[in-house]
């Protein structure tokens, strides 16, 4: 094949297709979130525009486009404009690297250090938030930006550390190889149960979602970093947030849930099986992938409907005192088990799965609702 076609045109086309589909999903997610929240919260959600309110997906962007774009009088204009745009670029770029289905058709650019590159790109999203918060010339925005900076820095560490165990098991930074490894053995979710939990909590914090939505904490900081943003600039922040959510859910799926495969120990729908089936097989892989990703997106929304918000010091406590030590311990244990497994020739995954299940079981047993809810005491005679 013409190298120009191979290295530039095809990847670009694939990226654009992925980009458009992903943006469609992001827009749809907004509707799904509002409807689902409405369902949980005993209300309706948007149901006026189109059937079941589906045209809300179009109505919202149109509204954002037509609204007046207000720039505060004393804002740093350039930084203020850069704020919403900066977080968009890395989150869009990441879609080049994400394999949405069996390779080579469904990945725009297969890079052998994809995991590192994804981590590096997503972590730059915070610059836009800090910049936007600072440039708005508003104390609430500034506090939101600063909270966001501290939160991102703190949770980037457990976020990265929790992946190390997966990398040790699969022995590669290539997302396709990680997926293939899981299809040949077992989903990393089981041997890396604690890592998966840390990863999920950290990615919720990374995307500023409830219960970690401190940077925008609407009841405390009005709107946090995006208080002063209106119209399309505000929409860009939202777009970046939802895109980042989607990227993180994709990562979660690829790293811990076997990506587009549906196999265990090499049996089932592995990458080879899907590739043998041709285009329908590829499509099936993409479908499996999307279902897994959407599950996590729904968990995000479920979280939002359930949890109160952390306080800032509590958030830092959780990050530094619990998540990071736990992630480090996970690395040590995984490393030891993998090395022993290689030298003594046993399946490290099985040992790790049993250990993880035991720990989680013990924790759940301890967390079971035992203590009666504290009631106020009563006095009859006053």
């Amino acid at each position: 094949m013409n190298p120009w076609m191979h290295y530039l045109v095809w990847p670009l086309v694939k990226f654009l297709v992925a980009f458009i589909i992903v943006q469609g999903i992001v827009a749809a997610m907004n509707w799904v979130e509002r409807r689902l929240l409405g369902f949980v919260q005993a209300r309706l959600g948007p149901n006026r525009v189109g059937p079941k309110g589906l045209l809300q997906i179009i109505a919202d962007p149109v509204k954002f486009l037509l609204k007046e774009d207000i720039v505060p009088a004393n804002a740093e204009t350039i930084a203020y404009f850069l704020g919403p745009i900066l977080p968009l670029i890395p989150t869009f770029l990441v879609y080049c690297l994400i394999p949405f289905g069996p390779p080579p058709t469904f990945v725009a650019a297969r890079v052998n250090v994809a995991v590192l590159l994804v981590l590096a790109l997503t972590s730059t999203g915070v610059y836009g938030i800090i910049l936007g918060g600072w440039a708005s010339n508003n104390k609430y925005s500034l506090m939101g930006g600063l909270r966001s900076a501290a939160q991102m820095v703190s949770y980037e560490v457990p976020f990265g550390l929790s992946i190390v165990g997966v990398l040790m098991l699969s022995g590669s930074l290539d997302l396709v190889k990680i997926v293939n490894y899981q299809a040949d053995h077992i989903w990393n979710l089981f041997p890396q149960l604690i890592a998966a939990f840390i990863f999920f909590v950290a990615m919720t914090a990374e995307t500023n979602r409830t219960p970690f939505d401190l940077p925008e904490a609407d009841s405390e900081l009005v709107g946090g970093y995006h208080t002063e943003y209106s119209a399309m600039k505000f929409a860009f922040f939202m777009l970046a947030e939802y895109s980042a959510m989607l990227v993180n859910c994709c990562l979660m799926t690829l790293l811990f849930l076997g990506g587009w495969t549906l196999a265990i120990g090499g049996y089932g729908l592995t990458t080879q099986t899907l590739q043998h089936m041709g285009i329908p097989g590829g499509m099936l892989g993409v479908l499996i992938f999307i279902v897994k990703v959407m599950t996590f997106m729904l968990v995000y929304i479920w979280f939002r409907a359930t949890f109160p918000r952390f306080r800032f010091d509590q958030l830092m406590d959780l990050g530094w005192k619990w998540m990071i030590p736990l992630a480090l311990a996970n690395i040590v244990v995984t490393g030891v088990v993998v090395l022993l497994g290689q030298s003594l020739n046993f399946q490290g995954e099985v040992v790790l799965s049993i250990a993880g299940a035991a720990i989680v079981g013990y924790t759940l047993y301890n967390l079971r609702p035992r203590a009666k809810v504290v009631h106020a005491s009563r006095v009859s005679e006053v």
Binding site: Q41, E220, F310, R311, V373, H375
Partner: protein, 587 residues
């Protein structure tokens, strides 16, 4: 033709109006005896013939008298401080202090007559809780309090001239408040958090008057060191609607809609408080049926008030779902009130002497349905948050206030009970027959945000207990408004067909209710605590003076102290748990 039964007989054969004769409270002898006892103990003059033991104190002796009352006679709680203007007298102002003794469950009233321009020594060294009350009297009457550290206007703005509640103030005047008139509000930094190093910058942050967590128009200026609040001051008055001044130009009946707008979360309770005060002044009592409906609606309103308070408090902490879980039953409660009178939030359903109209025939069934469904919603929220670790971390130990401080600030209601003090007006001074019901006063330990949450949750359950008993007893039959044409309008059918009724109707519309000359105070347990009304009648159709004792006012003045040393999220959580209703705070 059910309305015809409202009147048992026309023409009226009861007592004629006694509006030119002095008002004699029912228990005046007992009060006078106790008043004489107190007066002799502390060496003050006594004013007899009042509904409370009343002492007349010279202004020079007020601090000493208050100290004696507090230390020797256990009057530890400052309930209210207000003034009345009698421009024809040489000492034209009566500054009134009302104190409460938790130990003996009794009240005492002090009157300090002062002339225009004469200062009164500030009572702050004795009672912290009179801080804002003294500012209010200065603001609205121009009575200066010597030694008050912060004697600024509180309900009106900086550009306001004159003192609005003086009888000779012309209410047609308009004062324009521009930005340059507003004095920069800079809170004092708490010395505990002063830093010696100079290389850090403090941030002064304005929370409000328009802020998502202030639920109304409150303004809190905080000084921040990082996210920690090291100094805070509250500013109020954004929702001041001249409630007390307006009452003076309206008839007694016309003031009822104004009371709705005090604590608009539990409007019926305000109606009950006001109407019962006027009824006390008139020496009449609403019929049993009306009283029963008043009690049922009061308790429903209390539940609605707590639902809103807990719901919004949880929203402020990010627990969004609970808001709808709690607002759903609230809508149903408003549906019940709508079925009674057609209005929901601000019903103005009560009349002096009873109710505006009878309740619908299925009132009790609807009430029973509500009582059956409410526990589910309360339990749902309990399950969602009460065992939630994040919620616990957010509320336990946040913005605590000690029991001593709470009493000294004049806290009442759930906020006081959260400090472990079982004070409830429904128990201490029962009205509407609360003493005949079997229920408990919930208290909690700690006085923090969590304790306030627990108390409100339990109070809703106790209200449901009262409601269940009230529904089981059934509605007494009979009229819903008293058979007294000097107080209540005759039914329309009679007005159109009978001469006497037409005259009574005309007289009541044109000349209003004319209570006997005198003054009285009556208190009910509002959603936030003791809601008191003090009314002075000069025998005319307009009240000479209506004073409302808003429970929020006393509670909110302690807020700055409570949040100093806490973070912004804590301040927000605490603000929600205090249930500050701007309508009641600013009147």
């Amino acid at each position: 033709m059910s309305t015809l039964t409202r009147y048992s007989a026309i023409p009226y054969t009861g007592p004629a109006p006694t509006n030119r004769e002095p008002y004699v409270p029912t228990d005046t002898q007992k009060m006078d005896a106790r008043g004489a006892e107190i007066a002799s103990r502390i060496g003050a003059e006594q004013e007899t013939g009042q509904d409370l033991p009343t002492l007349v104190v010279r202004r020079e002796r007020i601090v000493e008298t208050l100290r004696a009352l507090k230390n020797d006679l256990t009057f530890t709680m400052p309930l209210d401080l207000w003034a009345v203007d009698y421009p024809r007298r040489r000492q034209r102002f009566d500054v009134m202090y009302q104190l409460y003794s938790l130990q003996n469950n009794e009240r005492v009233r002090l009157k300090v007559p002062v002339a225009d321009g004469e200062p009164i020594p500030s009572s702050l060294p004795v009672y912290k809780g009179f801080d804002w009350f003294e500012r209010e009297v200065w603001d609205l009457y121009g009575v200066r309090f010597d030694g008050h550290p912060n004697l600024r206007r509180i309900l009106t703005h900086e550009a306001f001239q004159g003192h609005a509640l003086r009888k000779d103030y012309d209410p047609a005047q308009r004062w324009l408040c521009t930005e340059k008139d507003v004095a920069a509000l800079v809170p004092k930094v708490d010395p505990r958090f002063e830093r010696v190093d100079t290389d850090f910058e403090r941030v002064t942050l304005n929370l409000g008057p328009s802020h998502p967590a202030t639920h109304g128009t409150l303004r809190i200026v905080v000084i921040l060191d990082g996210e920690k609040i090291i100094g805070a001051e509250q500013e109020i008055g954004y929702l001041h609607r001249c409630f007390e001044k307006s009452c003076e130009t309206h008839t007694y009946q016309q003031a009822i809609p104004f009371t709705d707008r005090l604590n608009y979360m539990s409007a019926i309770i305000n109606n009950v408080g006001y109407c019962m005060t006027v009824e006390k002044l008139l020496g009449v009592e609403a019929p049993e049926r009306a009283q029963h409906v008043r009690l049922i609606l009061s308790e429903f309103m209390r539940i609605a008030d707590h639902l809103v308070c807990i719901g919004t408090n949880l929203v402020d902490m990010g627990a969004l779902t609970n808001f709808w879980y709690l607002f759903q039953p609230r809508e149903e409660i408003y549906g019940l009130i709508e079925a009674c009178c057609g209005a929901r939030l601000l019903p103005s359903y009560l009349r002096i002497g009873g109710l505006a109209v009878d309740v619908p025939p299925n009132f009790l069934e609807n009430a029973q349905r509500l009582v059956n469904m409410l526990p589910k919603y309360i339990d749902d929220v309990e399950k969602l948050v009460s065992r939630n670790k994040i919620f616990h971390d957010r509320v336990v130990g946040v913005a605590p206030i000690s029991a001593e401080d709470a009493i000294d600030f004049g806290f009442t209601g759930p906020c006081l009970r959260a400090c472990g003090i079982p004070f409830d007006v429904r128990k201490s001074n029962p009205y509407l027959g609360y003493e005949t019901y079997d229920w408990d006063v919930p208290i909690a330990e700690g006085g923090d945000t969590y304790a306030r949450y627990l108390v409100r949750m339990e109070e809703m359950r106790q209200s449901l207990r009262i409601l269940q008993q009230a529904i089981d007893r059934g509605l007494p039959s009979g009229p819903v408004i008293i058979d007294n044409p000097y107080v209540a309008l005759p039914p329309k059918e009679k007005v159109y067909n009978e001469m006497e009724s037409l005259i009574y109707h005309f007289k009541l519309i044109m000349h209003g209710i004319q209570p006997p000359v005198g003054e009285t105070y009556f208190q009910v347990e509002g959603g936030n605590g003791e809601l008191g009304f003090y009314i002075v009648s000069d025998g005319t159709k307009n009240p000479y003076k209506v004073r409302c004792r808003p429970p929020c006012f006393a509670i909110y003045q302690a807020f700055g102290q409570m949040i100093t040393g806490q973070t912004i999220p804590d301040a927000i959580a605490a603000l929600g748990s205090l249930n500050i209703i701007a309508g009641e705070l600013d009147r």
